[in-house]
């Protein structure tokens, strides 16, 4: 009985792939607007040249390339779409279909990853030209666990944002909550610096929050920085479970509360 879910997944991915390809030009700009890590790459690279920070310039370059890659593959925007659906009442027809609306969003995101791939390749190539000393060959261990945590961290980020999206049933601007969350995400996820450079206390606290696992953790695994793998996986699964439970409760209660246009 596994064939139905597979069939549904394949159909949705091919539909959304076709849809995303139409907006190729727009996609280039989305990829480029993820240049935030590159700014910090420049700063840290320069800093490492003038003193000993525990990282060499090449290691910084590698780290921020890892951050860039992880960010490209884990971009999530489901809350903006979901909020629109709730506020404009577009959720109503979707509820009639024999499939949970979340899958449409989920596979839309997955399909977009595929369209993004060529642009990401291009930028990585450019990066290797600029920083040839940063090129590295990942070990099989890094490839396997790095990819796995990358997929997990996309799922975790999607799940958390989709949980915030549920609040759209009650408040008109659920995205404001997401933007506030994003502030913490920016500065605690390791986007501005590897966590090893954080003060001891901040790092200890940060490692219990979901933020580092959305960027720092998969990026470190990909480039071979030492991390506590079992503990990291446990924390990811733990936060994922919490988000999932809250999400399902809010979904049930929210649907009863839902009175969008036409419902």
């Amino acid at each position: 009985m596994l064939s139905r879910p597979l069939h549904v997944a394949r159909t949705l991915i091919s539909v959304y792939y076709a849809y995303m390809v139409e907006y190729r030009a727009e996609l280039i700009f989305w990829v480029l607007s993820g240049s935030f890590p590159l700014i910090f790459l420049g700063l840290w690279n320069q800093a490492a040249q003038s003193g000993d920070l525990g990282f060499t310039p090449a290691e910084f370059a590698r780290y921020f390339l890892g951050v860039f890659l992880v960010r490209q593959f884990t971009v999530v925007w489901v809350i903006w779409d979901f909020e629109k659906e709730v506020v404009q009442g577009k959720l109503s027809p979707l509820l009639l279909q024999p499939i949970d609306p979340v899958w449409r969003h989920f596979f839309g995101h997955v399909a977009e990853r595929i369209t993004r791939l060529p642009f990401i390749m291009l930028l990585v190539g450019l990066f290797c030209l600029l920083y040839p000393e940063a090129i590295w060959l990942p070990t099989p261990y890094a490839v396997v666990w790095g990819t796995l945590t990358l997929v997990l961290s996309f799922c975790l980020r999607f799940l958390i944002q989709y949980t915030f999206a549920m609040l759209a049933f009650w408040v008109e601007k659920a995205t404001a909550i997401q933007q506030f969350w994003f502030l913490f995400y920016t500065f605690l996820s390791g986007m501005v610096a590897p966590l090893a450079l954080f003060p001891e206390a901040v790092r200890t606290i940060a490692l219990w929050t979901p933020f580092p696992y959305l960027i720092y953790f998969p990026a470190s695994l990909l480039i071979g920085l030492p991390v506590d793998l079992p503990r990291g996986l446990m924390i990811m699964i733990g936060w994922g479970a919490i988000a999932f439970i809250i999400n399902r409760i809010l979904w049930r209660v929210g649907l009863k509360h839902y009175s969008g246009m036409g419902a």
């Binding site: 727009e26 700009f29 989305w30 700063l43 690279n45 933007q179």
Partner: protein, 262 residues
């Protein structure tokens, strides 16, 4: 005569948009909290560099703080005046409502650039000013030094506006270009830190291609009294050229506007 008319129109625009925004007063609390959170994050980011012995070449902690303060003020300015207006140009083109703007008996660039003002950038303006005052106190700046901030800051804002408007105007051709301004915004993030902190290629890029250096570093240097007059002159020249270019480009772009239904 013409100027007085524009001033009167501007006053009406802003009265209406402030009245409309005040309907959502809860937003103000959200804006204050977000602004505080963003500031804490920025300070943390800067602190990460200075907690080791490293400092951006030629910039002490307080001086780098000054740059951050000016950056926060700029964020406030763009949230109040620039983004609520310029990010909407795409929408007018998409829906064809640009027709109504073009029919009005005032400059369409003026209408598009000024008709909304959003008070939610205010917290950033206030907190940014506090940081500038605090950092200035640490460095030992005089009242006159604070005044010296305004000319380069105003020139920087003029350049930023023109660049943003030009990008917005490209939506005449590329209807779905919403993200171009997003790219500009992400590049502007570089202004949080003094330009001397970047490698040479970055410095060239952020001076000549996306003039981030003129937005925060040059005003800060002018305040500390370390600025070469060449930089101020460059800033003035850049603002004048970009502003003129934005006017020319808008006129050019309008020739290709075909409205939504035709």
């Amino acid at each position: 005569m013409k100027l007085a008319r524009y001033a009167r129109v501007l006053k009406l625009f802003w009265q209406v948009s402030i009245a409309a925004e005040l309907e959502y007063r809860i937003n103000f609390i959200v804006a204050v909290v977000s602004s505080l959170g963003g500031l804490a994050g920025s300070l943390f980011g800067l602190f990460l560099f200075y907690r080791t012995d490293y400092s951006f070449p030629g910039w002490s902690w307080s001086e780098a703080l000054l740059v951050l303060g000016i950056f926060t003020i700029l964020q406030g300015v763009s949230a109040t005046f620039l983004s609520p207006n310029l990010n909407k140009i795409v929408g007018y083109v998409q829906e064809g409502t640009l027709d109504f703007v073009l029919l009005k008996p005032i400059s369409s660039q003026f209408w598009l650039s000024t008709h909304t003002v959003s008070p939610w950038g205010l917290p950033d303006l206030v907190f940014g000013s506090i940081i500038v005052l605090y950092a200035g106190g640490q460095i030992g700046l005089e009242a006159l030094d604070y005044l010296a901030l305004f000319p380069p800051l105003a020139l920087g804002i003029a350049s930023l506006y023109s660049l943003w408007f030009i990008l917005g105007a490209t939506s005449i051709w590329f209807v779905k270009i919403y993200n171009v301004t997003e790219v500009l915004r992400s590049l502007l993030e570089a202004g949080r830190f003094p330009i001397e902190g970047y490698p040479a290629i970055y410095r060239i890029f952020f001076t000549f291609i996306v003039p981030v250096a003129f937005l925060t570093t040059v005003p800060a240097q002018t305040m500390i009294g370390r600025s070469n007059p060449i930089w101020l002159l460059g800033s003035a020249l850049l603002a004048a050229v970009l502003f003129q270019a934005s006017k020319w480009f808008w006129g050019f772009a309008l020739r290709f506007y075909t409205s939504a239904s035709s």
